[in-house]
Structures are given as structure tokens and as C-alpha cells.
Amino acid sequence: MTTIPGTAVRSVSEAVGAERLSGGEGRVIDGIRPAAAVAPESTEEVSRVLGAARRDGLGVAPRGGGTRMGLGGPPERYDLSLDTSRLDRVAAHNPADLTATVEAGITLDALRESLEEHGQFLAMDAPRPDLATVGGTLAAGAIGPLKWQFGSPRDLVVGMKVVQANGRVTKSGGRVVKNVSGYDMARLHVGGLGTLGVIVEVSFKLTPLPRRQATLLAAFDDSGPALSAGLAISNGWAAPLAMVTFDAEANRRGGFTGSARGYFLAVRLGGRPRTLDRQIDDCRRSCDRHGAVCLEVVDAAGTPVLWSKIRDLGWMDDDAPEYTARASVPSSRLPGLIAGLETGGPAPAVVAEPGYGSALVHWFADGERDAVSGAVADARVGAVHAGGSLVLERRPMGSRKIDPWGEVGGSLSIMRRMKERYDPARILNPGRFVGGI
């Protein structure tokens, strides 16, 4: 179905007023510019927008900070950009209970600042927290290095309010940390790319900020020993907040350390003073045993700076890769996967998480597009062969050579039925999710 641009504008301005509307420039997805952008100021307005969209069959792409609009396939229809950034309030923060309820459009930075005053944080990081919103980060599953310790943010969500494609506002879960009351609907929306509903409010469990933090930074001759040291640390007693390896190319682009050559391991540690010292010692020994050529401890002041750089690599506007992929494999298969990336075609910048089993791979193409897309396809084969998956988080505009999600197997039939049930008119991000959902 094609929609005349005027319909979208008329239908949405009737629903929430023309003052909430703006033009679609700057909201392009895969070369498609929507007829309009709308920024509702309340859940009720989101509901009215979706009601209108459904009535008129508009294609809607929900948007938080706009950092992940490159995730997913090309939209089947795209008439309206639904901007959640005005839903940016902290609805409730109960510091003594370590819980908070926030609107979906609040940025990660704004939330961090608000929680930090109480010595707490939400253990979910994502690139560009100045832009990235809570709702967008959850919908995109776009998580950063803190997942090493704290896991997927779906494990931090205790309750969620969603506006469904039919405009109905529904909630699941609660505001307490332990709950088995009804189906855990929030799970479908975390990583669901807004295809089943628009997240408008989320309740989280929070974590006390570590008393002190430091980072152990070790350099090795190549990836093998760096990954082995990381694996040894994850099998030891230390409990890193985050742990990544990165190659010289990632280091050169991200400016993580001054060294020009080598393969690096960074271990972010936290705790009370004696606990922190003990962990640094343990990790240092593991690095020594695996042939570290250089060891450095980054102090409490330097640690957040270093980890912001690691987290944001590939997501800065002035140095955007051609392709970014996230591979998830059993941890023991990570060295093999990375060895494959190093030898197969144009060398990417790789930030991997030993012990967790994931790798973020950025290909910065400098005029070698075909070779790069070949390397990306090979990396997918490598990840699947290792018993995992590889998702493209960014690809060149209009490129349809590689399915951004890959195969999801036999459960695709159930996923398709989910979409049919929750968005039968296919108004929410149609065509962009797995299997063309």
C-alpha cells in the first residue's frame, strides 16, 4: 500500500495537534524519508498517534535518540517517525528500594546523573548515552560492555508499559524486584525493535555504585593470549564489571591507549578498597601467566573515560564504519571466530568480550565495498559455524546483500504469529525485523 504524504500529516495532526508534528527530514531510514515526524508528550498521545496510524495504515518507526536507526532491514512502509524524546521524566525513584520507574525517552546520561546523586546506577550502558534513550536501547538490544557483569538489560527490567499497535496502553510486571504475576511481556519488547509495541515506561532494578573502580589494561603480542588471559580471569575469583579485548585497529581509531602495536585486554573492576586490590592482583597474575608484555592500572578518574571510548567506538559521527556486526558465540569459540576475522579479507576493528562470548566488529571500508561485504558474509558463516549468530547493527544505506539478522531457525513461525497478533495491520517498523517481520 502506498500512502500519500498528506494523509499522514492530516491524520496525526488531528490526533495530537499540528504543533507536535515536524517534517521528515533528518529521519531518513535506508534512504526513505517519512512524510512527518511526531513527538508526543504523553503516553495518551502515543496511544492517539498509533490509533490514527492504524486507522490510516501508516508505517511508523519509533525513535529514541536515533543512534540505532541503521539496525534492521529496509522498512516496507515508512510514513511517520514517532519520537519518544519528550517522554523523558523519572516517574519514580525509590533509592532505599533500589528501583526506579522512568519514561522511555529519557537519555541514559540524564538518568545516570539523576541516579548517581543517590550512589546508584542502572547497569545498562550503550554507545552515545548523550543521545541514546532507555526505550531505544531496550528495543534495539543495543547494549555495551557492562553486560559482562550484569547481563542483558531484560534482566534489569521489572515492569514495562507499552502502547500496542492498536493504541491500547498495557502494562506487565510491577515495580518490585521479584515477581511472577502474569506473563513476562516485557521480554518481547526488549530486542524487539519496536515491532510489537512502543515502550513508553520502564521499571528497573538498580545497582549500588561500586565504592572504587579501576581498570587493568594489558598488552599482548596477539589475540590468542589476550583472549586466553580474559578467559582465565573469567574462570577465576575476580568479578569484573566489564572485560574486553581489542585489536590495534580499534585502539588506533578509538585512542584507548598510547601503544601503537599489540593486542589488548581491559578489565574494569570495582569494590571496596581491599576487594579492588585483590582483584587487580588476581587479574594481573592471569595476564602475566599468558604472556602480557605490558600492564597498566588505570585509576578511578581514568576508568570512566577509557570505558566511554571503548563503548562509543564506531558510534561517533566523524568516524562511522561501513558495517558493524555483533557476534554472539559460546565463549570458547571466540578465539577461533576472531582468528577468522583477522585472516579473511579487509581487517575490521574488533572489540570482544571473553567469558561472555560476544564480539563487536566494525569494518571501516576505504573504497573496498565488495571485499568488505564478502568479509561480513564470511564472518556470519563463522559465527553460525561456531554455534552462534551475527547481527548487523549497521550496514550501508540501501544494501540488501546480507540479511541483517541472519537465520533464526524454526521458531520464526511463532515469531511471525506474534507479529500477526500484536500488530496485524503491520504499522510498526514493518519489514525491518527478523525474517522480514
Binding site: D97, G182, M185, R187
Partner: protein, 481 residues
Amino acid sequence: MSANAELIADLEAVVGGAYVLHEPEDLIVYEYDGSVDRGLPAAVVLPASTEEVSGVVRAARRHGAPIVPRGAGTGLSGGAIAHQGGVVAALTRMTRILEVDVDNRFAVVEPGVVNLDLTHAVERHGLYYAPDPSSQKACTIGGNVAENSGGPHCLAYGVTTNHVLGLEVVTADGSVHWLGGRTRESPGYDLRGVVVGSEGTLAIVTKAAVRLLRRPEAVKTLLAVFRELDDASAAVSGVIAAGIVPAAIEMMDELCIRAAEQSVHAGYPTGAGAVLLVEVDGLREAVDEEVDEVERVCLRYRPMEIRTATDPEERERLWAGRKGVLGALGRLAPNYYLVDGTIPRTRLVEVLSRIREISAETGLPIANLLHAGDGNLHPSVLFDERNPDEARTALEIGGRILELCLEVGGVLSGEHGIGLEKQEYFSLMFDDDDMESMAQLKPAFDTGDAFNPGKIFPAGASCVDVFQSAAVARAGAGAWV
């Protein structure tokens, strides 16, 4: 041949005659679980493999018989009750641990594997399976997945859903699907995440890939005894507010203490009004520092006594009173009705005091046992079922406590599920749109009413009556929380 006989014949063709039970004396064993409800199935079938589960589902569906999946039957909300008859699919023969991957720290198990058996099977590698419901010597991983079970140590380590990587399930058409996988992330909707905690209503789990954790380097247990319940509650809030998240914080009130004293002689001082049990684990240094801090917090609330222990035997002694308490409640009254709800941790003092008021007003004693660290209450109403007035009052009290939980911003169930027990309260927490949205999962899984029909969602007034007349709470050592 009668319809029932045809169903049984079809089931026997799948699993063999020895594994289909249909004589009344065999069925009666499967009539109840750990809850207050009962229901007699037409048949109980014990499949031994995914293929057999699939065959059982196809056969039962051909006859239009609902299927109630069942693990060890330790659930407390009626999840395993065949209250509409049909076929109980008992998964207790599927007890193989199929794979233990030490390097990647996961195991793939069949649903009938007993929770604690999994930990025993992997402990020689220094690993364990973290969710530890108090029934862990009996309950199964499949049942844990269905109910999203917790346990004392889920304060720090999370509940079942935080530990399941992937599930193999049989859906209502008999087809087999893997949801999730063996890695931490898989593309697509998190179907695994909605099946966990779905109380056996969406699919039958035939394999589970679960994470294994490394045993902590050190564990230390602190027991603090208070004269007043309010002081113990305030200490719990104080510990959380101080930014400490111990592995477990358990609490018992005066009635529980009295029962525990009588049965296991835990050695609590006379006049004790509340006992707090705090366990901290992790790195040696962290454990020492945190236990010191927990102790400092407790000291602010006038404890009668504080004991700490590090070696396993001593720790076990500190836990003995807590672990024996539910069985011991039988010494105080012939029956108890155990209520499960969660509240914000900051509301403990207030809610426990309101529960005391309810007890005083109704004349029925209420023993409070709490996973206090995460605000999960287990008030147990003591009564005598031979007195119908008391039985009715006990159920009413349960309802009032749940309403109280909701009033202060809590939820209907922390770890036992809704099942049959709480379905009539469900609409107090969720409106029609919420419930409609949840109910859509069944057609999305194409489940219809094939699995565990009539659970979770409100069934209408008539079923309240059924529930209340069937509510005969059994006291004794057979239940765990």
C-alpha cells in the same frame, strides 16, 4: 470403546502401556500438588523423550483433552492441578543431564532433572546452578522454568529466567522448537523469556540450556536476633539502603521462631521477636568487608544477639532454624495457608504491622517467613480445617494480604505463580487491556486451550466457589518456601 479408553489406547501407543496411568488408585497420586487445590485427570502419561512428548500432545489433542504438564508437583499455586480433567504429562522420567559444558558454563538438561541433582552433577567442576527454591531436593528444572522459581539466594543471583539460555519446547501442534540458544544473545523475539514463568500454559519444555555459576570463593552467614519485628524489618531496609546486596536476607517472626525452636532447637534466645539471616558470598575480602557492614547496620537496631559463621557446618547450623520452619508450623496448628506476595522493601515495617492487625482482628495467628531482601513475603495463616469458619477466614485473610501487597505497590506473587490460587485476584493488578494483551500469547503460540487451560486468568465467579470449597490446606513437612 469409550472415548476415554480410546484416548488411553492412543497414549499407550506412544509411550507404552506401563507409562500410562488410568486406574483411580494411580490417578489419585496426581490429584494434588503443593497447593490447596485438587483435580482428577483422566490419565497420567509419563513420556521419556521429546518425541514421546510430541506424540502425547498430538494424541491428547486429537481427543480434545487438555494437557497439564507436571514436574515434581511441589508448586504452591495449583499449576500442576488437572482441575478440568484431561491428561497430566508428568515429565519425571526425563531426568538426563545431556551436556555439561564446563568451558562455557552451561548445561543442557531434560525437564525432569531435580534442581539439586544438577548442582551435584556439576560441583566437581566448581560450578552450581544458582536458583535454589527451598524445595530444591525435590522440584524439577522443568517446573522451575514454568513457575520462574526463585529461592533464598535469588536476591543476588536472580530467578530462573536469569539463568535459562534456551529451551526446547513442544507446542500444541506437536512440533518441536528451540527458543533462545546456548549463547547469551540470540536474534529475534525473546520467546524463551515469555515461556519462562508461563506456568505451563504455552508449551511443554523438553530441554533446557541453563547457565552454571562458579562457586564463590568465600561464604559468610550472619544471624541477628531482635526483640522486635520492626527492628529486624528496619535492619533489612538499612542493609539495602546502604548499597549492600547480599546473596540472601531471610527473616522469621516470633511464631516461626517458636515453631523452629520446638522442632529443630535452633538455640534462639527467649523473648526473640525476629531472626534475620544474612548470607554474603564472593571474594574473601569482599565477604569480610560486607559482613562487617551488615553487622554495623544491624547494631543500629538493638539486636539481642549476632552470630556469624564461615565454615559450612556452622553455617548449616545457623540455617537449620530457617530451613526447618515450615515443617515445624504443623506443631502450632493443624493447617496453614501460605501466602506469597512481594512488596517494595521499604514498606516491610508497615506491611508486617498491618498483617499483625489482620491477625488480631480475625483471631487467626499468622506466622511470617520472608525472603526479606527482595521484599517477598510468605505470611502463613494458621488454622484448623475441621472448623469451616476458620478455613474460610484463612482464605479471606490471604486475599486481604494480597490486596495489601498491591496497595503498597507490590505484586500478587513473588515466586509461586498465579495458577488457580490467585487467578481471581489477577484483575486487581491488571486491567482488561493488560490481560487481553497477555492472553494473545496463547494464539501466538497457537496453543488454544491445549496446555493447562483455565489457569492464571480470572475464570469468573463460579470458579471462585470451586476454589474456596476445594481449599483444604494441608500442613506438614511436604511444603517448602
